[in-house]
């Protein structure tokens, strides 16, 4: 509980972060930037889990566990993504989205 801060304000903050992440995910043209936007989205939701846990169900810890899992998965995902990006860069010397459309064929 943060004194004087209601759950609404925290949700407002996370929502804003979430949509900033989405905006970035759609508009950025670079794979790493997309990865960054993804982190924003993940963090926004992780905060939500924690906040809901704290404000509404203080007796249990599920929200916290989920946040930990999110962080773990994010770490794994980032590691893989970075590996892919580097490999891609080796192949086509670019990490721009427009150059990787070849996948759709």
């Amino acid at each position: 509980m943060i004194a004087g801060i209601s759950i609404y304000e925290i949700f407002t903050l996370t929502s804003i972060l979430f949509f900033i992440g989405i905006y970035g995910f759609i508009t950025r043209k670079n794979l790493i930037s997309i990865l960054i936007s993804l982190e924003l989205i993940l963090n926004a939701s992780a905060v939500n889990f924690v906040v809901i846990n704290k404000y509404l169900y203080p007796d249990v810890l599920q929200g916290v566990f989920f946040s930990i899992f999110i962080i773990a998965v994010a770490a794994a995902e980032t590691a893989l993504a970075v590996a892919i990006i580097i490999n891609l860069y080796r192949q086509i010397s670019s990490v721009e989205v427009k150059d990787t459309e070849i996948m759709k064929y």
Binding site: Y8, I20, G21, T27, V64, F65, F69, T78, L80, A83
Partner: protein
């Protein structure tokens, strides 16, 4: 005091997040993200989840950001300006996001949350017991799964990062 702290944090996070998705310099974008992540850790501190905040700081700010910075440095020149999306696309996306945000907020503010006043402090022990508990409601299985996932991701990252043999002589290396 905490209220002011929260507002400061929130302001930093939003500004940093916006800067992060709009900056045309890759590295700066990552650093702005770092601010956001630290802000998130701050919120965890504020609501008294100290362990979580610590994990956030070490894994995210310490691990992931460094990983990303490495990859940025590997594939980018520092001065390189990022290509931006078309204005029309930006506007459409922005509109969609704003409308979506509106929907979210409207929904949130119209919902009556059943807030339980408390000032319970969660210790690391509580978390450890919860995670490793075999009892009903225990999280041992997901915990194990996550460990395996991390292992798999690690191996996968190495395999992928190592690259294909065929591409070894590629002049792009």
């Amino acid at each position: 005091m905490e209220k002011i702290l929260f507002y400061i944090l929130a302001l930093i996070m939003i500004v940093a997040a916006i800067a992060s998705v709009t900056s045309r310099k890759m590295l700066r974008s990552v650093i702005y993200l770092l601010f956001v992540l630290i802000g998130v850790a701050g919120i965890y501190f504020l609501i008294d989840y100290n362990f979580l905040a610590a994990v956030q700081l070490t894994v995210y700010a310490g691990g992931i950001i460094v990983l990303v910075i490495f990859s940025v440095l590997l594939v980018h020149h520092i001065e390189m300006e990022l290509e931006m999306a078309k204005l029309s696309k930006k506007i459409i996306t922005a509109i969609a996001c704003l409308v979506g945000l509106g929907v979210f907020l409207a929904t949130i503010y119209s919902t009556n949350f059943n807030v339980v006043e408390n000032s319970k402090t969660t210790t690391v022990e509580d978390i450890g017991r919860g995670l490793l508990s075999y009892d009903a409601g225990g999280f041992i299985l997901p915990f194990e799964v996550i460990s395996v996932l991390l292992l798999a991701a690690m191996i996968g990252a190495i395999i992928i990062g190592k690259g294909d043999k065929l591409t070894k002589n590629d002049d792009t290396l």
